[in-house]
Symmetry: C2
Subunit: 215 residues, 2 copies
């Protein structure tokens, strides 16, 4: 189950949440990286484990019952802070800070570290798919044609090195409720992965509801 909330937050309060919860998630991303790479003694690792569990218990003293879902602020802003790619609160997310333009383009500069590895030193092919899916969906929404992923095809031209990368997506055409989006991940040498996706406005969203891309 998820929680859909109307939080009557002012923009100041939202900014504070961004700082406080966002800061905690960022610290947690650092911990995730350190857990992968640490070579401290077993005893120290076990001591840290116990402390991580204690901190988790403190955070769980008050929590929502399920996943984050979305919450809406009084001015209609939709927050998807739990999202696995862009979620402010989600330490699984790099997070990707996406920029958009109204003709249906989305792009981001990202840095992927040890937590996103597949083959040694390379980004996991599925992580590339994960990020391209999000960017493609955001491009569709930015162009006024939001939807959920119908199909997504990835072509891996070569390994994508961990480190600094550019990811982008753009609407190539629309057909009724279908939006065709292309995308790519690039390193300094050029494109490493290409994507083509079809995004479809769900039936339940075609009447009445304001179309929106859930983050």
């Amino acid at each position: 189950m998820f929680d859909e909330r109307i939080d009557d937050l002012t923009s100041d309060e939202l900014e504070r949440e961004r700082k406080v919860a966002g800061g905690l998630a960022e610290a947690t991303r650092g911990l995730v990286d350190a857990v992968i790479r640490s070579t401290v003694a077993d005893e120290e690792m076990m001591a840290v484990t116990a402390e991580v569990e204690a901190l988790t218990a403190r955070l769980r003293a008050s929590q929502i019952p399920g996943s984050f879902g979305v919450s809406h602020t009084a001015d209609g802003t939709v927050r998807g802070h739990g999202n696995a790619v862009v979620g402010l609160r989600n330490a699984v997310a790099p997070p990707v800070h996406v920029k958009h333009s109204p003709e249906g383009r989305a792009w981001a500069d990202i840095h992927l570290g040890a937590a996103y590895e597949g083959p040694p030193g390379l980004v996991h092919g599925g992580v590339s798919a994960l990020i391209l899916d999000q960017l493609a969906g955001e491009a569709a929404a930015a162009g006024g044609s939001p939807g959920m992923t119908g199909t997504l095809t990835l072509r891996y031209r070569r390994g994508t090195p961990l480190g600094d990368l550019r990811v982008e997506a753009w609407i190539s055409r629309t057909e009724g409720y279908k939006t065709f989006v292309s995308g790519a991940i690039s390193d300094a040498e050029g494109v490493t992965v290409e994507a083509e996706g079809i995004f479809i406005l769900p039936r339940w969203a075609r009447e009445g509801a304001t179309p929106e891309r859930f983050e």
Copy 2:
């Protein structure tokens, strides 16, 4: 950069690493979930943030310089404990515990919680792609035809609910260095996402090297 190590670990030592480092990663997964869902006061969240940072510093007192890469034990076991889907040490990974059969089949029962959300209450479409990419690669390797992802196509039949899911992949055919793999994610009601992938043995791996699927 990544670190390729020969760790002359006995199976007892490997089991201990599994317990110690694996236990720390598991505790960190709990923290990641709690950070998304917590509603404790800002002051408490900031206090926890400072403690998370202190724990990270303790783990970083000794660490490998880059990503985990792979390490080999004396008996030839390849460990990809940093892998974004199956990595024992990686809190971004659910982790997926994959089973294999030698005719080229891989499967796993998984539980995806709040950290894997896209649309409210649903698995992020890109997370489904991430997991299917890994399973498809493992199916190819299990059948003796390892490779890196060449292309991957996902068809989303309907939303995949967060919770308990089954994921599987199987070789449909091989052509020289290309292995064609199909896969699916299912919930209790049936298939939610289908995948088709082509896995290609890299040129550098075609001569001399023992073919292996990097986890």
